[in-house]
Amino acid sequence: MTGFNLNHLRAVLVHQVHEIGEFFGFETRNKYQILDDQQGLIGYAAEQQKGIFGFILRQYLGHWRKFDVYFFTPDRTLTMIAHHPFRWFFQRIEVRTAQGKLLGALQRRFSVLSKRFDVENERGMTIMEISSPIWQLWTFTYMHQGNQLAQVKKKWSGLFSEAFTDKDNFLVEFTSPTMSDQEKNVVTASAVFIDLLFFEKKR
């Protein structure tokens, strides 16, 4: 299995790198740094922009399109790919190694007032569930059999940035020590996906 080596980590910070275009209302392709709890660089994630057509699709379709997010190690080696297939409803992202081996997936579930997801393992079985109620817009808790395994929280990066860009930081906490490296990678990838799904909007 590849992906990042998150075995020893209890938390990672997903930090979006903003581009100048965001100040002028253009959605440039989303790029993130993934940092450990000492702010050391673990890797990068970047949505793949496929030329001018991809640029146009991003501007007008948002997440109603197929796209991939590539995860790289600090030396720019591709380690993981998160693939978002096109869906009208119930968005999904599938996390694979660079070799194509499925690590897991995040599947949106139907809900009216809250945000609900299932985290699936490589066999499509639900190993974690997320239900983020409407009064907790910025927190996503990953549960299994009533126990919290992980939590993704948005961390404010300062008033100025929040007012003008959708530059976000996310804290991904691995609450349970029983989480495997594979599960941690899937949760980290899901944090990036959640950002793309919910927080890629101008205020």
């Binding site: 066999r123 569930e129 299994h144």
Partner: protein, 360 residues
């Protein structure tokens, strides 16, 4: 032997019924967990969907999770007694969830349909709060070209000025009318009729002037229409019509045009009752306006007597399907009012019948 994807904790494996046991075999290390079918218990859990947890009642910590609902069928075939209860519970949860999920949509659709119909039954007094006289005036001005076209309204007819004088006579004696700015139009329609349009506009057909036998009849008709204007019945009628149209369209989109029209026609019968009530209320107010202005109410009564004679076959059933009460009933109602409110000493009206008839 049917096998199912299963989890033990978060370790994936496969579960199958082997003899008297439900057996979980881990993919990772081949480790097996066995649960006796005699002691098996089932728990349905999960935030977003149903997950079935199987455990031995003597050892509830060791739980096998199977997310495929066909496991219940397999266990039932294997003779596990309590599975039927679990299936019922699962079905019940599923229906409850469906009802919970569907209820906002059902409520939204019901409100979408009910709201225009509800609006159509709002009393004029409430509509008066919602729609200001200025807004009503703007609606009237917007409708006026259509009214002019449909009812052959003649602009600047000399009878308008004469009717204006009679209107001022009524207004002078009735404080409630003094704030109202009313416009009178004359239509070339030969049918003896008059009606009010939003924005305090009254249209009187040529037929009224032709058939009138006294000036009191004409003033009576004017007073009746002023009753509608003062109580803003026209606004209510307009919202009722719009509500019915919108409601019919909404229903047609859901259940088809024929069925929706049938439903709205039924609802329309209720509306006709409101319409007849409004006519009676306008008769009453009109009578009161005449009484205050020292105008003989006999003219108004006589007008409806003539209408009643024109259509003697008007049965009670037809009343049910009519926007207006039967003329006989109106005559009876007004005659009762005349007994309760006998005419005051009449004053001469500033316009004579012959003056008006000469203009047609």
């Amino acid at each position: 032997m049917t096998s199912f994807d299963a989890l033990y904790g978060r370790t994936s494996g496969v579960a199958s019924i082997q003899g008297p046991y439900l057996v979980f075999t881990s993919h990772t290390d081949g480790r097996q967990i066995k649960i006796s079918l005699k002691n098996i218990q089932v728990s349905i859990e999960g935030i977003n969907s149903h997950h079935y947890y199987f455990f031995d009642k003597a050892n509830p910590q060791e739980r096998i999770c199977i997310q495929d609902k066909n496991i219940l069928m397999a266990l039932s075939r294997a003779g596990v007694a309590q599975i039927e209860k679990t299936q019922q519970e699962a079905n019940s949860r599923r229906w409850r969830r469906l009802a919970l999920v569907a209820s906002p949509f059902v409520v939204a659709i019901a409100l979408l349909i009910a709201t225009p119909v509800f609006i159509s039954f709002l009393p004029a007094s409430l509509l008066g709060y919602l729609i200001s006289p200025q807004q009503e005036k703007r609606i009237g001005e917007w409708l006026l070209p259509m009214v002019r076209l449909q009812f052959h309204v003649q602009e600047g007819h000399p009878a308008q000025a004469k009717m204006r004088i009679l209107l001022d006579h009524l207004k002078a004696a009735n404080p409630e009318l003094q704030e109202l700015y009313v416009e009178i139009y004359i239509s070339q329609d030969p049918v003896p009729n008059a009606f009010a349009v939003p924005g305090n506009k009254i249209v009187i057909n040529r037929g009224i002037f032709k058939s009138a036998e006294s000036i009191d009849e004409i003033v009576g008709v004017l007073a009746h229409e002023l009753g509608h204007v003062e109580q803003r019945h026209v606004l209510k009628s307009l919202s009722g019509t719009l509500g019915k149209i919108v409601g019919t369209l909404m229903l047609a989109a859901l259940i088809g045009p024929d069925q929706s029209v049938a439903i709205m026609k039924t609802a329309n019968f209720l509306h006709l009752k409101y319409s007849r009530d409004d006519e009676t209320a306008a008769d009453k107010r009109g009578f009161e306006f005449l009484h205050q202005a020292h105008v003989s109410t006999a003219g108004m009564i006589h007008f409806f007597e003539k209408l009643a004679k024109q259509d003697p076959s008007f049965s009670s059933l037809m009343v049910f399907a009519s926007t207006h009460p039967a003329s006989e009933d109106r005559v009876h109602f007004l005659s009762q009012m005349a007994k309760e409110l006998p005419d005051l000493s009449p004053v001469a009206l500033p316009v004579e019948l012959q003056e008006l008839k000469a203009l047609f």
